[in-house]
Every structure is written in structure tokens, then in C-alpha cells.
Symmetry: D2
Subunit: 148 residues, 4 copies
Amino acid sequence: MQSFEPRDPDWQTRVRLSAARQAFMVSLGVELGDMAPGAVDLILPFRADLTQQHGFFHAGATTTIADSAAGYAALSLFPPGTGVLTTEFKMNLLNPGRGDRLIACGRVIKPGRTLTVCKSDVYGLTSEHRVHVATGLYSMICLEGLDD
Amino acid sequence: MQSFEPRDPDWQTRVRLSAARQAFMVSLGVELGDMAPGAVDLILPFRADLTQQHGFFHAGATTTIADSAAGYAALSLFPPGTGVLTTEFKMNLLNPGRGDRLIACGRVIKPGRTLTVCKSDVYGLTSEHRVHVATGLYSMICLEGLDD
Amino acid sequence: MQSFEPRDPDWQTRVRLSAARQAFMVSLGVELGDMAPGAVDLILPFRADLTQQHGFFHAGATTTIADSAAGYAALSLFPPGTGVLTTEFKMNLLNPGRGDRLIACGRVIKPGRTLTVCKSDVYGLTSEHRVHVATGLYSMICLEGLDD
Amino acid sequence: MQSFEPRDPDWQTRVRLSAARQAFMVSLGVELGDMAPGAVDLILPFRADLTQQHGFFHAGATTTIADSAAGYAALSLFPPGTGVLTTEFKMNLLNPGRGDRLIACGRVIKPGRTLTVCKSDVYGLTSEHRVHVATGLYSMICLEGLDD
């Protein structure tokens, strides 16, 4: 993995505050995992109300944490006083969302002044297995004065 | 818009049953809107727990109903005894998810025996305005014996 | 289709000059078709050296004119002194690239100061038939001082 | 990188024959690079007729070899008597296509009976530098009786 230099010494606090202020993330039960500059993991523990008809995580839940992990990975490299918005993304759904929890690993591929390109991989985890549920590519825009 | 011939006379019932059996759709409060063969609308009324930090619909909620509307549009053309899965999609987020409710308009672009290509457009609605929130392209796969 | 107001009175000349200066477009034999603000068509006449193994247009040729048509559609709405770059796109290939020529119809979905979202549809044409070969979604960036 | 088991002992010959029979690949001057099951590199030496207005590789050329490398990576894992078609893909263009040559590295992410998901990364190379030009995600379909 590439190594990145954060431009905001308080990047970890920013990511934490942003996650705490998104009602939808809180209502899904998303938790912050490991963090490094340009790399943020999110964890989504299983709940019955997050499932599709076969009892697996719904693709909407998978997609939501994948996108958020990618967004926070980008945000971790942004200068103070800016915010992040997803402008577009693409996901390939590889396997059913099976597991006790999902982990979404957001990673910056190429940082930029305006656009930052990220990827996000989602895995379904049990105590014994890890399955690759989805992979995605994201364009994140850095906006001046946007309050994250 | 193209006109399509459904291969299952009970296609409307199938779509309704599928929506009712997805716990995540129910917990978000998604409602079925208008339906025609190859075209299904979904409606998501505003709720505070579906928002991001600025009080608009979270992109994860937008994405979830966009994907589901596209999936049901595809399912409406599938033969009896088959089910639908999203294999991949791409979304461009055009405007903040502002409105009393979102409407996602799933439409089949090209039906196929194995893969059906769909689009989905999401609009934010108030009594006075309609804003184009997102547009997406989807590949839906038709699976034998998958119970929708 | 939406109607757009160009910000450069010489937008048609800009598009023509840009197409003429791209060696790859010239070597493929791409021709300009109809143009309106936010809408540019490109035409690619059949040539044996543009084919894949079954004698149809190669997807690479299809993709190239689809992207360029979308780029020119965006450029037609940009202010003077700016240029266009594709930052990302997604294509669904719907049917083999069969025909005497391909036509790519680039259309702006949402103009923006920095990013303009476009779509592009490619059709294969003969004197009797029109087949939908591909559909795509694009993010175009407007760059100050980039010489198109 | 994952390790894959080919189902066709003659997979290398199949890839070579397929590349040789695509007129567009031959006319661009594409060369085969390293190959392993699930991983194929393609090389595109610089030529003035492959450029855009600033003298770099045109995105259409970049896209063409990225797609083909991903397709051959998928084909390398297919059983005898089948062929490969790209059903859809997404590319993020990261840097201008600068270099003496481009190298596209196609890699299988998840093989499947019907659909195989691949990625492809394109780099611009000189004797001193390597720049990441583009990254893409692909869905490849395995078709019975399709002559590659």
C-alpha cells in the first residue's frame, strides 16, 4: 500500500466527528475500525433489519458502508476546513453478504486537489471465514467550506 | 420509453412479495410506486434517521432505493421460477438528496436471457420542486431457482 | 431533452478544432455529426482495421467515440479559455458493434462549474437497421487554461 | 495476488491466437506481455497516431488495452470451447497517458462460471518513470461456443 502524508494533524478527530454526525450511519450501527492516512475501515455488525430475503446483508447496507469507508479514506488526506462528497462510484457485488459482520476497507488510490480516487473492498466475516462481498471504485470531491 | 412484454402474468405480485420480504427495505420505509413491465418506481419518505450531516437523505439511502427499483424493473420481465441479483452498478450523485421524499425510477434498457441492463434515476420531491439527485446504470442477472 | 445555454458563442468552432487536433480521432476516421449545446454526435464509418475477431467494430473503437462524444457535449457548455478532461466513465456493452457505421450521441445530464455529468449512447447503423450497441455515464472536468 | 488454476491446458495459445485475430489490436500495435493464469499484461508502444491534442496517449487507446488485458486475464481461466465478452466496465483516468509505452495489467478478482470480475491498471512507462494512468473494473461473460 502507498503511504500518504495527512495535511490536517487532527484528521482522526475529523473522521470520528463526521461519522458521529451522520444519522443514517448511526441508525445502521456502523462502527469505526482501523485508520491510517488514506485508509479507513468501517464495521457493520449483523442485524436482522439489515437483511434481504435470504437473511444476508442487503446490498444497500453493503454499498453504504463501502461508500462511507472510501469517503473517510479521502477525508483523512484533505486540508482543514474542507469536506468530502462522493461524486460517483461503481460497485461489483461478488458474493452474498454473509457473516457476523461486514468490514469495508476504504483506500485512496490517487489523492488530488479537487478529485481523489478511492477503492473500497467489503468482506463478510465470521470467526472462521472471510468472504469478498464487493469491490468498488469512487471519485471523491474536496469542497472548501463544506462542514463535515 | 420502450414497451416490454412480461413473461410472467403474475409479475406484479412477484415484485410486491419480493419487496415485502426484504427486511432492510421495510426498515427504511420504502414504498412501491407505479409499475409497468420493465419499469418500477419506489418511494422513500423522509425520516430523520435516513440523513447525513446536513439533514438531507444519505447517499446510502439514495443508492439503496435506486438499486432496488432497477432490480424490480428487471424482475418484472423475468420468467416464473427465477430471481434477480444485482451484479454491478454505477451511480453519479448529481444533487443533494433534498425533499419530503425520494422517488427512484427503475427502467430496463436492454432485457436479456442472462443479463438485463437497467437504469435508475432518483429525484427529490417536495410539493413544489423536483430535483435530479442521482442516475445509475445496472447489470441484473436472472437466476434459475432463486427464490425472490 | 433538456435545453442548455452555451457560455461561449464560438462553441461549435471549439468542438471542431478540438476534434481536428486529436490524432487518434483522425486516424480512426471519426466524423462530427449533429451538434447542439450539450449534445454532440460523432460518426465512425466501418473500416476493417477497426474490428474484432468476428468482423464487428471492436469495443475499443466503440468506447473511444462514446467518450469523445460525451466530452464534446460537455465542452459545448464550457466558458471560453477552459478545456475538458474525462475523469471517469462506465460503459455497458449491449449488442455487437454491427453496421456500416457507428453513431455516438453524447448528451449532458447535469452541467456544473467543475464537474459535468454526461451520457453517451452508441448505435450501429445500416440503411435498414439501428441497434443499440452501448450506453455509458461520464464525469467531465472543466479545467482553466487547458488548451483544447 | 491470488493464484488460479487454468481449466484449459492450452490457455496461453488461446490468448495469443485471440490477440492475433483482432484487427484493431493489430492496427494499434498492441503486444502481449507477461502472462499467468488470471493475469495478462499488454503493451502499447507510443505512436503519434495514438495521441490526443497534447501529444499523450489518447484515452481511447488507454481504454482499449485496459479492456483487452482484463478480457484475456478472464479468458485464461475459461474452459476450452468458450469465449469471452466484456459486458461492462468502469475506468478512472488518473494521470495523462505519458510515456514511451503503456502497460495494461489485467487481473482476475473473482472467477465465476458465467461472470468473471477483473481489474485492469494502466501505467505509462519511460526508462526512468512509471505513472499510474488509469484503473478499471470489468465484468467478463463466458460464452459457450463463442469462437475467440
